[in-house]
Amino acid sequence: MFLLSILLSPLIGAFVMGFVGHTKAASRLNILFSFLTFGATFLLAWNVFANGPLVGLDEQLFADGFSAIFIVLTGGIGATTSLFSHRYMAIEKSRGHLTGEKQRLYLSLYQVFLLTMLVVLVSNNLGLLWVSLEGATLTTVLLVAWSRTPESVKAAWKYFILCGVGIAQALFGTILLYFASEKTLGPGGTALLWTHLAAVKHTLEPTVIGLAFVFFIVGYGTKVGLVPLHNWLPDAHAEGPAPISAVLSGLLLNVALYAILRIKVLADGSLHNPLTAHLLMGFGLLSVLLGSLSMWKRQDIKRLFAYSSIEHMGLATFAFGLGGPMGSFAGLLHMTAHSLIKSSIFFVVGHIVQTSGSQKIPEIRDVALRTPSLARALLIGGLAVTGIPPFAIFASEFLILSVAVRRAPWSLPLLLLAIIVTFGVLYFRIQEMNGESGRSLSFPNEKPKITFYPIWIHFGLAFLIGLFFTHELGRLYGLALHSIGLTNG
Amino acid sequence: MDVGDPLFRTEFAVDVVDLFLAILTAPLLSGWIGTCRAVLSNRTPAGVFQPFWDLLRLFRKEVILPEHTSFLFRAVPFGVFGILSVSALFIPLLNIRPLLGPVADVVVLIGLFSLVRMLMAFGAMDAGTPFGDLGARREMMVGFLAEPATLMILFTVSLWSGSTSLSRIIQSLLSSSDPVHPSLMFALMAYILVFLAENGRLPIDNPATHLELTMIHEAMILEYSGPLLGMMEWSAHLKLFLYLLIGIDFFFPAGLPAELSPPAVILGIFLLIGKLMAAGTALAIVEILFAKLRIFRVPEFTALAYLLASIGFLIHFVLEV
C-alpha cells in the first residue's frame, strides 16, 4: 500500500489546510505535509528501484521506474517549494497582501495540486489519469487568479479556456484508445489500464491508435505548452504567485509530457511507422524555435522565463521524438534538470520582484547593490538554464545535439540558433537587471527576509548531477526507460 | 407502349385528370390557407372559394396595359401559366408514373421554375416602373439564394433511389422498409424553408401586404390588371400547389397508389386531400407565428436551408449506407 500512502499525505494535508489554513502555523504545517509527501515518494521510488514495479488498489494504481522518477521529482520540488512559499507568503503578509482567507485557499489548493499530480503519476487507469490532470488544471486556475488583479483574472481565464479545450481533445483520444483496446481486452475495467494495454499494444488497431495519439498530443500538448498551443503558458506563469509559477514550470509541464510519453509507448507498439516520433519532433522543434525567439524583447521577467520553459519543454519533446536509448535518456535528463533549475529560478525571480516591487525588467535595476546574493543566484540560474557546464542542462543539451547530429542533422542549425539566442537574451537581460541604474538607491525601510535554502538545494543538485552523477543517473534512467520500451526506435 | 394500348389510354386519361385537378385545386388550396389564417388570427374567414371569386372578378374586367410596354409584358402571364401547367404534368399527383415523367427529372423541374421566375422578372421590368424593378431584383435575389439549397435537397432525396427521376424516387421511397430516415428529416426541414422562400410566404415575403417597400411578389405584378393579373395570380396559386405536391411526394409518399386500380386511386385521393389540408394548416400556423424578416436577413435564412440540406446529405453516408 505504498502507492496509497504517497497520496494520503497531500489528501490529509488538503483537508487540514481547508480547516486551519488561515492560522499562523498553517504555513509551517504545509511544509510538514509537503516533506511528509516527499518522504513517502522517496521511499516509494526506493522500493520501486529495488524491488520492481508496484501495483495496487485493484490495479488502478501503479508505479514503475519511469513514473518513480517523476514521483520523486514531484515530491521533492513540492517540498522545497513549500519552503520557499512559506517565506514568500510571509513577505506578502507583512505587506498586507494576504488575508487569512486567501492563505487558506492558497494552502489547501497547493496540497490539492500536489495530490492531483501524484494521482496522475501513479494512476494505471488512463481515464483516471485524464481526470486528475484536468483536476490539476482546475486547481491551478484558481491559484493563477489568486491575486485577483485584472491581469491575473484574465490570465487564469485564458488558461482555463485553452486547457479546457485542449484536455477535451485528450478525452476524445482516451475514448478512441478505449475503443481500440476494448477489442482485445474486452469491455470493462481493464481496457484502460496501462499495464494491460502495454501487454497487448502490438494487437491494437493502428488506424485508431494513430488518430488517438494525434488527439492526445494536441490535448496534453496544450498543457505541456507546445507551440502552437502554448498561448496560456506565459500569461499563467507571469500572473500567478511565484511559488505557483515554480510548480507550474517545474512539475505540471513535466507531468503532462509524462502522460504523452506513456501514450507514445502504446502507440509505438501498435503503429509500424514513425508517426509519434515525427509529431513529437515537429511540435518540439516548433516550441524550441518560437520559445527562444519570443524571449527577444520580453519586458516582463516572469514571462521571459516562461518562454524559456516553452523552449526547454520543446527540447525535451524533441529529444523523445529523436528516440533511441540516448535520445530518450537525454529527454528525461533534460526534464529533470529543467524542473530543478527552472523552479529555482522562479524562486529567485519571486524574491527579486518582491524586493524591487516590479515585474518589468526596465524597472528592475540594482539587484546586485540591493541584494547581492539574489543577484548571484540569478546569474547562476541564468547560466544553468542556458546550458553552461557543469550544470545538468549542459549534459542533456549536449546529448540531445549529439543524437540530433546522427538522427536528424537538418535540425541542428535550428537547435543551435535557438540555444544561442536564448543564451544571448538571458545573459544581457540578467546583466541589465543586476547592473546599476545610476539612480540613487532608496532601500525600503525593512529588508525582507529571503530564503536561500531551496534555491541552493536545486542549483546544487543540478550541479552535482551535471558534474558527477550523469553516469549513475544514466544507468537508473536507462533501466526505467528500457523497462517501459521508450528506448526502441 | 403503343398509343392504342388500353393501359396507355387509362394512363393518359389519368394524367389529363391530374393536370386539371392540379389547376383547379390550386386556388382552393390557397383559399384553405387563407381560411386557416383567418381562423387562427380570430378573423371571419372569407371562405375556401374566395380565390375563385377573385379570379372570376379579374377575368371579367377589361385589359388595361400600361404605356410603353412591349409584347413581352402581355406574353409573360401566358408563358408563366403555360410553363407551370406543363410542370404539373411531370409531378405525380395520383399517378406515380406520369407519361411525361421520363422527359424531365427534378433538375429540369427546378430549371422550369427558374424560367418562370425569370419570365416574371422580365414582365415586371418591362413596365419600367421603379416598384416592378425593385420586386424583380428582390425576387431574383431570393431565388438565387434558395437555389443551392433546393438542389442539395433534391440530391439528398435522390441518394435513396440513385436517380433524379421523380417517379423512381417515389417508388424507392414507397418500397423502403425503414420507418424513419434521418437524412430525409433534415431535407424536409430544409425544404420547408426553401418552400417559404420560393413562394413568397412569410417570413420572407408577405403575400397579403401592399406596403410598397417590403413587398416582393406583389411589387412584380403591380402593373398587371384584369385577366392578365388573373393569370398571374392563378400561376402563383399553381406554383404553391406544385411545391407542396413535391414536398408530399418526397417526404410523405405513403398512400400514393402504386398501381391504377380504382380502390387505390380513391384511397389516394382522400389521403392526398388530407395531406394537402394538413400542409396548408401547418403553413398557416407558420405564417401566424413568424414576423417578416428584414430583406437583409434572407441570406441567413437560405443559408440555414442549405446547411440543413447538406447535413442531411452527409448524414446519409454516415448513418444510412
Binding site: 481526470v131 488583479t149 490570465a155 478512441l176 478505449y178 488506424t207 520580453r298 | 452527409l314 454516415v318 448513418l319
Partner: protein, 223 residues
C-alpha cells in the same frame, strides 16, 4: 436481420444523433443567451434518450445508470445552476460573435465533412449498434469548439465547454458503450467542479471588469 423493435430503436438512435448535431448548429445560430441554456438542457435530454436507446439495443445495463445519471446531471442540475447564475449576475441579452452567423455555419459545415471523413475508418471497425454516430460525436465536439472560439461572452464559452463534454460523452456511448464507470464518474465530477470554477470566475471577472464581455479583457492586452 434484426427484429423489428430493434430496427426502430436503431433508427431512433440515428435520429437522436442527428438531432444532437442539429442542436450543436443551433448553438451557433442562436442569438439569445437564454436560448443557449435551453439548448444545453435539450442536449442533455437528447443524450439521456440516446443512452437509453443504446442501452436497450445493446442490453448493457450499466448504460441505464449512465442515462439516469446524465438526466440528473445535465437536464436538472447544470441548467438549474446556469439559470441561477444568470439570475444572480443579471446576465441576459444577445450573444456577441466575432464571426457572423452564416460564415460560422459554412465553417461548421466544413467541420462536419472533415469529422465524418475522419471518423469513417473508425466506424468501420466499431462493433456497436450505433457506430455511424462516432462521426456525429466528433463533429459536435468540433462545433462546440468553434462556438467557444468565435463567441465573445464568458457564458457562451462556458456553454461551449459543456457542449464539448456532451459530445465526448455521446462519442463514448456510441463507440464503446461508454467508458468504465469510474472514469465516467470522474469526468462528471471534473465537469461539475469546472462549472463551479466558471461560476467563481464570473463573479471575479464581473468584479474586476464590471462586465462579462470578454472584449474588456482584450482591450488592455497582456503584453
Amino acid at each position: 436481420m434484426a427484429p423489428h423493435p430493434h430496427l426502430l430503436a436503431n433508427h431512433l438512435v440515428g435520429m437522436l444523433g442527428s438531432a444532437l448535431l442539429l442542436s450543436a448548429f443551433a448553438n451557433l445560430a442562436m442569438r439569445r443567451l437564454t436560448s443557449l441554456v435551453r439548448i444545453f438542457a435539450l442536449q442533455g435530454l437528447l443524450l439521456t434518450a440516446s443512452t437509453l436507446a443504446v442501452a436497450i439495443l445493446s442490453s448493457e445495463t450499466h448504460l441505464l445508470f449512465s442515462a439516469l445519471f446524465t438526466f440528473i446531471f445535465k437536464v436538472v442540475l447544470l441548467p438549474t445552476i446556469l439559470f441561477r447564475l444568470m439570475n444572480r449576475l443579471h446576465i441576459q441579452g444577445e450573444v456577441e460573435s466575432l464571426v457572423n452567423v452564416p460564415s460560422t455555419m459554412v465553417i461548421g459545415l466544413g467541420i462536419v465533412v472533415f469529422s465524418f471523413t475522419l471518423a469513417a475508418p473508425i466506424s468501420e471497425l466499431a462493433s456497436t449498434v450505433s457506430k455511424g454516430l462516432i462521426g456525429v460525436g466528433l463533429a459536435s465536439l468540433l462545433l462546440s469548439f468553434l462556438m467557444m472560439i468565435t463567441r465573445r461572452k464568458a457564458l457562451t464559452q462556458l456553454l461551449g465547454f459543456l457542449g464539448m463534454e456532451n459530445a465526448l460523452f455521446f462519442s463514448a456511448i456510441n463507440a464503446t458503450y461508454g467508458m468504465p464507470m469510474v472514469v465516467e464518474l470522474g469526468v462528471a465530477f471534473d465537469v461539475l467542479v469546472g462549472t463551479f470554477v466558471f461560476g467563481i470566475f464570473f463573479f471575479q471577472i464581473r468584479e474586476t471588469f464590471e462586465s462579462l464581455d470578454l472584449k474588456h479583457m482584450d482591450s488592455s492586452s497582456l503584453e
